[in-house]
């Protein structure tokens, strides 16, 4: 499947090649973790560049937590290599690795103050109290925590403050790589959105390599330079947020992105793309020679309401079933026979649509993404 099949989107403000030109700081070579006969992590090969914000996304049970625990040294690898800055670290215990992890539970020391939590690794290193305090204050400033929180018990901190303390504690260790195991998953939506952006800003300020685990591709898209989508212990696709969004490799990745329209399609004898559930031929930009059957993926924002059958390359007639307000956008559910379509419009566009109204929906050939599997 070539890039010509994909709809074009914003490439972001980053230099696309910047990451691939940097030397890899962390290399995984057929990394495997087995529990009995079950491979939780199944032969992962991956290079993570220095200074990169790399996110591993996958549903629960995909092995992403096991993977990051191996990288941090809390789980022993069953096979393969973990190479950090050129040296194999498989057998290095967690306390000897120059990496640090922010846990899902944050794992703050409940019997210690904010300051003592942040200074923990410095105390372990034997740095004198005055220097420790200077560093702790610098981190409190960096993470926008008030300085008078230094002596506050972590148990009396709010959710957002605790997140920042956990990050400050990890940064105080001055790790080569920071690992994150879904630290934002238990936070309410609004605060999570704020913290996601803050985390990306801190990534920029510190220039450190961040490896982040989440089950939310949306969260991954906001923060990451590159994303690895994981399923059943394997990396299904690795790419920039834009690549993952506009050119998902298969049905799993495309559906993981959120609401998409997925139509099972196959090639008939005369090399035409047929959707059996519609008994209809669909136009796409190009079909690779090797393609025989798979799915046609159309994002809701690429489907529009049309007046005539000629207004788009592919047009279907359906009934408007429901609408969902999504803030700046409105989503519509359109039923075409047995099939359900999701259509999205910007809110500012005026609408005269009514429930159960018969509508024509359509999309252009270039907006359909063909995926195998």
């Amino acid at each position: 499947m070539g890039p010509s099949l994909s709809p074009t989107g914003g490439e972001g403000i980053y230099d696309k090649d910047c990451m691939s030109k940097r030397p890899p700081i962390l290399q995984l070579k057929s990394l495997t973790k087995s529990f009995g006969t079950f491979n939780a992590v199944d032969g992962i090969d991956l290079d993570i560049a220095e200074g990169e914000f790399f996110t591993i996304v996958g549903p629960s049970g995909s092995g992403k937590t096991t993977l990051i625990r191996m990288l941090a040294g809390m789980e022993q690898a069953s096979g393969g290599d973990i190479i950090l800055s050129g040296a194999r670290i498989n057998d290095l215990p967690a306390n000897k690795r120059p990496t640090c992890m922010v846990f899902q539970s944050l794992a703050l020391f409940p019997h210690r103050t904010v300051g003592e939590n942040i200074e923990f690794s410095l105390k372990i290193k034997g740095i004198d109290p005055a220097q420790r305090k200077t560093r702790a204050f610098a981190l409190l400033d960096q993470l926008r925590l008030p300085r008078d929180h230094y002596g506050k018990s972590v148990q009396r901190c709010s959710g957002g403050e605790r997140q920042r303390v956990a990050l400050a504690r990890a940064l105080a260790f001055d790790p080569q790589i920071l690992f994150f195991d879904e630290p934002l998953s238990a936070i309410d939506y609004k605060l999570r959105k704020t913290l996601e952006k803050e985390l990306k800003d801190i990534h920029r300020e510190t220039g450190k390599t961040f490896v982040y685990i989440t089950h939310s591709l949306e969260e991954a898209m906001v923060m990451s330079d590159r994303i690895g989508v994981m399923r059943s212990g394997k990396l299904v696709q690795v790419g920039t947020p834009n690549e993952i969004y506009s050119a998902p490799k298969d049905k799993f990745v495309s559906e993981f992105m959120g609401d998409v329209n997925v139509i099972p399609v196959s090639m008939n004898g005369s090399r035409k793309l047929i959707a059996e559930s519609f008994d209809k031929e669909f136009a796409v930009a190009a079909v690779p020679d090797s393609f025989s059957a798979g799915h046609l993926v159309i994002r809701p924002e690429f489907i529009r309401f049309v007046d005539k059958a000629k207004d788009a390359d592919n047009v279907l007639e359906g009934k408007l079933y429901n609408e969902y307000a999504l803030g700046s956008r409105i989503q519509y559910q359109v039923r075409v026979g047995e099939n359900v379509f999701i259509v999205e419009k910007l809110r500012q566009q005026s609408s005269t649509l009514r429930r159960d109204q018969t509508v024509l929906i359509g999309w252009d050939a270039k907006d359909g993404i063909l995926v195998t599997g």
Partner: protein
């Protein structure tokens, strides 16, 4: 019910619900305590509570040699608690974190002896240690060596106390250790701490509530120990509880026994309060 409460007549719902328990506590707990305190102020060898109060019993305690028994009791309780803490922490750690599916079975094994009377178990130890008994008899017939029996020594009294009070230290400690979140331990290790530093900085402080409850519980029980000294010790040491028992029974001097009991309660109570003040459990856990 609600109407009664609203008009303010009679007791509130909560107070009325608590009434049976309050009465029970009053009759079962407060009344005997008050009786003991009252007797301690009665003239020596009297059996009523209608005499004018006197301090002569306390005078006798302080001029006599009861302090020796007090010292034995407190010393042996302290040593017992110390040994138990050393023995139980590793076992508690194992039960909470290492033994996995074997933990319930081991816990059961530690619990089963509690179903047998303490005296019966202590006589079991006598059979084990007595001349020509399980230990010495075996040594004699198999190896031909005949060491002195350890029975009726201070060491055996200590062994008996450690044995009897072990579960009371072990179970609160196990609870304490299992309260430490594993991720907190891993976080400390991840931040560069060695195993020993993780123990000192995370395990020990976070399991302190369980440890403190174990220490206090076993100390209070061990100060009141009497059977170990009697059965295994054969009067090598006389604990204060023995003095109290003698005063109430053989000497028929209830007021003296009562005075000794009140003093013991005061000493133990003060120690417990001091320890609880020093180690505020909430403060340990950072809840304040």
């Amino acid at each position: 019910m609600a109407a009664l409460h609203e008009t303010g007549r009679g007791l509130s719902q909560g107070a009325r619900n608590a009434l049976p328990l309050l009465l029970f506590l009053l009759i079962g707990f407060a009344a005997p305590l008050i009786a003991v305190v009252a007797y301690s102020f009665m003239p020596a060898r009297s059996f009523g509570l209608i005499h004018p109060p006197t301090l002569e019993n306390y005078a006798e305690v302080f001029t006599g040699n009861s302090y020796i028994s007090f010292t034995w009791s407190l010393l042996f309780a302290a040593i017992t608690v110390f040994i138990l803490a050393l023995i139980c922490y590793p076992i508690a750690y194992g039960l909470a974190r290492v033994f996995g599916r074997w933990s319930p079975i081991l816990t059961l094994l530690f619990t089963i002896p509690l179903f047998v009377s303490e005296n019966v178990r202590l006589y079991g130890w006598i059979l084990f240690f007595i001349k020509n008994g399980v230990l010495l008899g075996t040594l004699k017939s198999w190896f031909g060596i005949e060491p002195e029996s350890w029975l009726f020594t201070r060491g055996i009294v200590l062994l008996g106390m450690v044995y009897v009070y072990l579960p009371f230290m072990l179970f609160p400690m196990t609870l304490g250790v299992s309260m430490v979140p594993n991720e907190t331990r891993e976080a400390a290790r991840d931040l560069g701490a060695t195993r020993w530093q993780v123990f000192r900085e995370v395990d020990l402080p976070l399991s302190m509530p369980g440890i403190m409850i174990g220490l206090l519980l076993t100390f209070v029980l061990a100060v009141g120990a009497i059977a170990e000294a009697k059965v295994l010790g054969g009067q090598t040491i006389i604990p204060i509880t023995h003095d109290i028992e003698i005063a109430f029974t053989y000497a028929q001097n209830w007021p003296l026994g009562a005075a000794l009991a009140v003093l013991l309660m005061l000493v133990v109570g003060t120690l417990v309060i001091l320890v609880l003040k020093r180690f505020d459990l909430d403060a340990i856990l950072g809840r304040r």
